[in-house]
Symmetry: C2
Subunit: 201 residues, 2 copies
């Protein structure tokens, strides 16, 4: 005998599929939606309904765009420097970089990182398309903006090899102490990198 | 210039309305839905669409029921003892009590707790209906299963007064040490209550 009506159980189960959402959290979300007026769940329902139909991928950068767009605004905008390309793993990494407000180049989304454990080889990433862009757009600098993880580093290494002796500067994001973190709490690897990358003042 | 397609922003905003979900968490949920196949967001969308239309309230206990049900199974089930009524604040408190598997009485949902700060007076709670049930169902015991908060206690007190001299036993949930919690970490009020309610072994 079910304690809760099936309409509510269905919502709890579907919310429980979200990352990091356990049964208790899913219940809390669902109970909230039951308690508040029906418009909140309707707005969310409609937004979810239109999600996949409303998005597409930029043909050049593979950033997320509206379904009716061919190319991302971050590529077509004349203010963006097409000769500088930040290479990121996922479309969402772009948001983090854009929030800094200090980057005016374009992007290239790989669609993942090389990870033998997960069966992701370099051929399943958009590296061929990146090399093509170097030639097409006369790219001067490739910024490898991948995570500071094993996968991020090995993907960066692989791309560097693929670029070969093309006349393009290849850089990567600086590793070092995050702002606001005390030296004594920094981990050894970060501190080692911060030492290696020390700069004259 | 928006960095993300509006279809995605709409989902992030709607998810951000859930309790305890900030912009970062909402982004994480939305990105997950974008990455996985479209069925996950469709299932959630459909469940949300049907939520409010699919639920109703039991005419007797005010527990959540399917929209096509008049009375909760927890009331109509012949195995449940109608002469014992656990009084709870919200429909979801029933789930917690049912999970114990050790309660066979019925429930009565007040629809809140007395809270002058939030403008909730006793007249907006389903107390009249509770008193009516005492007479209708020949209730022998009322278990006041409200929170151990100021609101919970004052609501319990008010109900006790309303019951007056009707021949019904009024009890409330025991206060004491939670199972698995060390005595030295228990707060003073809990420990005081545990002392007051000490039992012969």
């Amino acid at each position: 005998m079910p304690i809760l009506p099936p309409a509510l159980t269905a919502v709890i189960e579907a919310l429980g599929k979200l990352p990091g959402v356990g049964p208790r959290t899913a219940e809390r979300y669902a109970y909230y939606l039951v308690r508040t007026d029906t418009s909140k769940s309707q707005v969310l329902a409609n937004a979810l309904q239109d999600l996949h139909g409303g998005i597409g991928y930029c043909k050049k950068t593979f950033a997320l765009v509206s379904a009716d767009q061919e190319l991302s605004d971050l590529y077509t905008d004349p203010k963006r420097d097409k000769t500088v390309v930040a290479v990121v793993a996922e479309p969402f990494d772009i948001v983090a970089l854009e929030k800094t407000g200090s980057y005016t180049g374009t992007y290239h989304v790989l669609g993942g990182l090389v990870s033998p454990i997960d069966g992701i080889g370099p051929e399943s990433l958009r590296i061929t398309e990146l090399i093509q862009r170097i030639d097409d757009d006369n790219v001067q600098e490739i910024i490898l903006a991948t995570n500071a993880s094993v996968e991020g580093e090995s993907t960066a290494l692989f791309i560097q090899k693929q670029i070969g002796d093309r006349p393009v500067k290849v850089t990567r994001l600086a590793r070092g102490l995050p702002i606001g973190v005390d030296l004594e709490y920094a981990d050894q690897i970060t501190l080692t990198r911060a030492l290696e990358g020390r700069q004259a003042i």
